[in-house]
Symmetry: C2
């Protein structure tokens, strides 16, 4: 066995990292959390938070660690996107990265610069230009994944505060898909699925009729799902 391993030694010269596309939703816009690197390569470039995976660390755990270091958050939506591994994507040698995306509630934490970063900041998705490594591509792929996921899985709520209005939810879908949706139909569709809990409270301090607040009832959703509900929204065609 040790004999067998010997002949494969030549392959054990690579490293891998995880990179995390952390999405947030604030001010009606979809955001991504980026760090300004202070290490080579790509020092002073904006980049996705990520780091090398430890020798005995699970990939998911590594992604979670990166998330925790930057946000302090533990229990958030986290899903692997895929691996990116062009040779030559990293100066130090062969490094493939396993990309993840997570959905967080922006209000839940204060940004904190980690050891790898000089700065941490939310960026609007449109305004993103040159990022370190192949991170622009990763962000694109992450966004496409998110667009599809929120169509058929109730993950949008991960980006909203625990109590939100239907309009908040609609704006979220509009921001992610880049479309505008018809208010009445959107509300009917969402409410007909019956997994939103009317909190019996309303907004306060707004200069117009205050909107009702709702919460996503996860238990109820799972019950309905067992019973054959299939969550699915249409993107519509309007720009």
């Amino acid at each position: 066995m040790v004999q067998a391993k010997k002949s494969f030694d030549g392959f054990f010269k690579s490293a891998f990292t995880v990179d995390n596309v952390i999405f947030g939703f604030d001010d009606g816009k979809l955001k991504v959390l980026l760090i300004k690197r202070n290490e080579e390569p790509f020092a002073n470039y904006w980049a996705l938070p990520g780091y090398f995976v430890q020798q005995h660390e699970d990939l998911d755990a590594a992604a979670q660690r990166v998330l925790r270091e930057i946000t302090g958050l533990e229990q958030v939506y986290l899903e692997q996107i895929r691996a990116f591994g062009s040779p030559g994507r990293h100066d130090f040698g062969r490094v493939i990265t396993v990309a993840y995306y997570s959905l967080v509630k922006v209000a839940d934490f204060e940004l904190q610069a980690a050891s790898i970063a000089q700065k941490v900041a939310w960026h609007n998705l449109e305004g993103i230009d040159t990022l370190a490594f192949d991170h622009e591509e990763i962000v694109q792929v992450a966004l496409n994944r998110l667009k599809r996921r929120i169509r058929t899985q109730p993950v949008g709520f991960e980006l909203l505060p625990p109590a939100f209005t239907l309009t908040d939810l609609q704006h979220l879908y509009e921001a992610v898909w880049g479309v505008s949706l018809e208010k009445r139909n959107f509300r009917k569709k969402i409410l007909s699925m019956n997994f939103l809990q009317d909190l019996g409270r309303s907004q306060t301090g707004v200069a117009h009729r205050p909107a009702k607040l709702y919460a996503f009832d996860e238990d109820r959703y799972h019950t309905l799902e067992e019973e054959g509900l299939n969550f699915e929204l249409k993107e519509g065609k309007r720009k």
Copy 2:
């Protein structure tokens, strides 16, 4: 820079492999191509075809190479699933694998045992029990991906011969989804999308009314897609 790299040397001790879930469709059943390993670890186990990625090789290219070695095929549908990387999934050290799946036409090639394999054979998806490494999990994830993909992308045709009948196509969907579909509705839906080309020929030598043969018109599909067609089939509820 060399200085900078030095401190990261500890991370460059890993290897990665690609593993390929090669799907085929034959005899009305969905199949997976497996090899019987002749090397440690897991010698004599059935496994997904896969191998170490070369130091300067692109991931997609590595997956293609594995496919070519076993099937001789080059231009086939190939898509990355994701990375699997529990520590301890490989005896030789830290090895993560990047899994791919491909869709091939069974009739297009003769199976040939590669250097890594004693035997190569198609296996029915149900009959799969113990595989090497975490390959059972990978097959499951691949199957789930395929189930979703064929709902909204015209990839099913990759599994069928260039000329096929509507019943062939229906059986394919039924096999992948594990449901039975209603013939008239299925045909109406498919034909209404207008991207199947009626070849003007029919089956021969069957002991019943011969079925018309169709081909998937890829150019036409792309045109229609630009114009806003959205391909989508429903799984239905019937078992």
